[in-house]
Symmetry: C2
Subunit: 188 residues, 2 copies
């Protein structure tokens, strides 16, 4: 029943943790479309450069905007961020790859996130999925994430995946796309 | 929306990860009762000393026995293992405490496990819950777990929580109860 591990199977391979929301799953496009539909607005990603979504919209709309993320099916049909499948499949040949998502913030999303990962990243074993909150719990060499708040306590190197909200954040190696990730980790 | 972390709030506190199934949640009693009811047997925990449940029962019954664990409500009403609440609440005063469960083996259990933890361990923040598979992903000083297979690749010290199936396993510090955990970590 329990999965078996060979304690040496990973040899000396480096370990990369990869965030889910806004790094491999495109949250913002759907979230913004729902918000615009319900509020008659025409906000675009460019309106959120360097700012949190919730700091830009009218405070009285924040509660509803957050509620979108707490519906069970929000995560079901999110688009995959361009290039992530191809590059992560290649990374998994050379590195230990884990997907680490702050799912504890959205407990209604567990099943949808698990199914989404299985559907779009079938080459990763579910034992390499991590649903957590505080990402300092991750024992890895690298964490690719759009949220710089996870990096100060992370034991490895945080690599910032560009998103509108982290525009202008300094202090970390930054990747603008999965092509950039490929250049760092898979250049011969 | 995102939880905020103070990167120094935990200071120099040691970190303890605690397994869920058979360490704080009593799986075996319910599982065995279901099995005995459906198969007219009268097996008890003593029949499994040093052996896996699935190595003891008739092979033709294994599939059904496993299926119990994959129902959505199996984990809902599990009893709490004696002393775990009191001792873990005290541990959380002196250590960083995370609950780390191999939930990826039972994706139907996510919600039930989350709710069970919130109900019985309300003093722990959900950001300290980790649903994973391969526990070598945990960045911690100690892992208290009934499954010794997690220990060889774990970066800290594995502490074996006694269960019938791990009877006789050597090579790790062993605790027979939460009183023993208290003695190790909370002795003045």
């Amino acid at each position: 029943m329990a999965w078996k591990f060979d304690s040496t199977e990973q040899g000396g391979r480096k370990r990369i943790c990869i965030d889910m929301d806004e790094t491999i799953a495109d949250i913002a496009t759907k979230h913004l479309a729902m918000f615009n539909r319900d509020h008659g607005t025409s906000l675009s990603k460019a309106d959120f450069l360097g700012r949190w979504f919730y700091d830009v919209i009218d405070p009285e709309h924040v509660e509803r905007a957050i509620s979108y993320l707490h519906t069970e099916d929000f995560f079901v049909d999110l688009p995959v961020i361009a290039g992530s499948q191809r590059v992560i499949e290649a990374l998994a040949e050379k590195y230990e790859v884990f997907i680490a998502t702050a799912a504890m913030e959205f407990p209604t999303s567990f099943t949808a996130k698990y199914q989404w990962l299985q559907r779009h990243f079938p080459f990763l074993h579910p034992r390499n999925f991590v649903f957590c909150g505080d990402k300092s719990i991750l024992n890895a060499d690298y964490l690719i994430d759009d949220m710089p708040s996870h990096f100060p306590r992370f034991r490895g190197e945080g690599i910032l995946f560009s998103a509108p909200h982290n525009h202008g954040v300094e202090g970390y190696r930054r990747v603008d796309s999965w092509i950039d990730v490929e250049k760092i980790f898979l250049a011969e």
